[in-house]
């Protein structure tokens, strides 16, 4: 009963297409969002603990490495958000034709890049507006 049967996902049998990388990216960004969730909880806990803990947390988020991670996380989240909508549309049975899926994929990438730029710009303003 324990024969070495092929287990899904057996990715090696397909010819590579760029829509595949979008699909893989959906998983990677979802996994990144799981770590972002832990960061959100850590931030909420700091805020609930008091002014000193919150100041320390915001200091942590202000280092160059944190800023880089935040920008990466922003793209990750916006991409997962946009591509998630694409998946939900597919679930209704629409947009599954090859040409449509390619077009919606390109649209998601453009939307994710534009959305990231917008959020980073607004985020810089929100972070910098110290009273």
């Amino acid at each position: 009963m324990n024969a070495p049967r092929p287990l899904s996902p057996h990715l090696g049998v397909y010819k590579f297409m760029y829509t595949m990388s979008l699909s893989i990216l959906h998983r990677i960004t979802g996994l990144a969002a799981a770590f972002g969730f832990l960061a959100l909880v850590w931030w909420l806990m700091a805020l609930a603990t008091g002014p000193d803990a919150y100041a320390r947390a915001m200091q942590c988020l202000g280092t160059p490495l944190s800023k880089l991670l935040l920008v990466g996380f922003t793209f990750s989240f916006v991409y997962h958000f946009c591509n998630g909508i694409r998946h939900l549309v597919w679930d209704t049975g629409r947009g599954l034709e090859r040409a449509q899926a390619r077009r919606s994929g390109a649209l998601v990438v453009v939307a994710a890049l534009l959305g990231t730029a917008l959020v980073v710009w607004l985020g810089c303003r929100a972070m910098g507006a110290a009273p």
């Binding site: 996902p9 806990m45 609930a48 002014p51 507006a129």
Partner: protein, 125 residues
């Protein structure tokens, strides 16, 4: 001839015993997270994030606290389902897979508890 029992066919829950429950809840939480995350992100971006008073004042409002708690619990649920699929797909050893699934479940429940506790503490302070 099918080896499935008539009861099993009627219940339609398949070999994992869960039917389409996992798939469906992934979609339900996804739909809920579209407005919740958009609201939370847009609200945060309009605030003075460095100001402890401003953030406490915002999250201390009753409706903000309710939706923030909904956000945290829905993310935890959606994330738990998603991470579960990734572990099931790519971790093939039975022991390692079970251990990672348990760890992921515990972390998600603990994170949800901590997030909701933090929000309640701010809202009820």
């Amino acid at each position: 001839m099918s080896l499935r029992t008539p009861l099993g066919r009627v219940l339609g829950k398949g070999s994992a015993g869960d039917g389409v429950g996992h798939w469906w809840m992934q979609r339900v939480t996804a739909v809920a997270l579209l407005p919740l995350t958009a609201w939370f992100a847009i609200s945060l971006l309009g605030k003075q994030l460095q100001s402890y008073e401003a953030m406490r004042g915002w999250l201390g409002q009753p409706w903000v606290a309710v939706f923030a708690a909904l956000l945290v619990s829905t993310i935890a649920w959606h994330s738990k389902l998603g991470v579960q699929v990734v572990i099931e797909d790519y971790v093939h050893g039975k022991g390692g897979k079970t251990a990672l699934l348990l760890l992921s479940t515990f972390i998600h429940v603990a994170a949800a508890a901590a997030g909701i506790f933090a929000i309640l503490r701010m809202a009820l302070a």
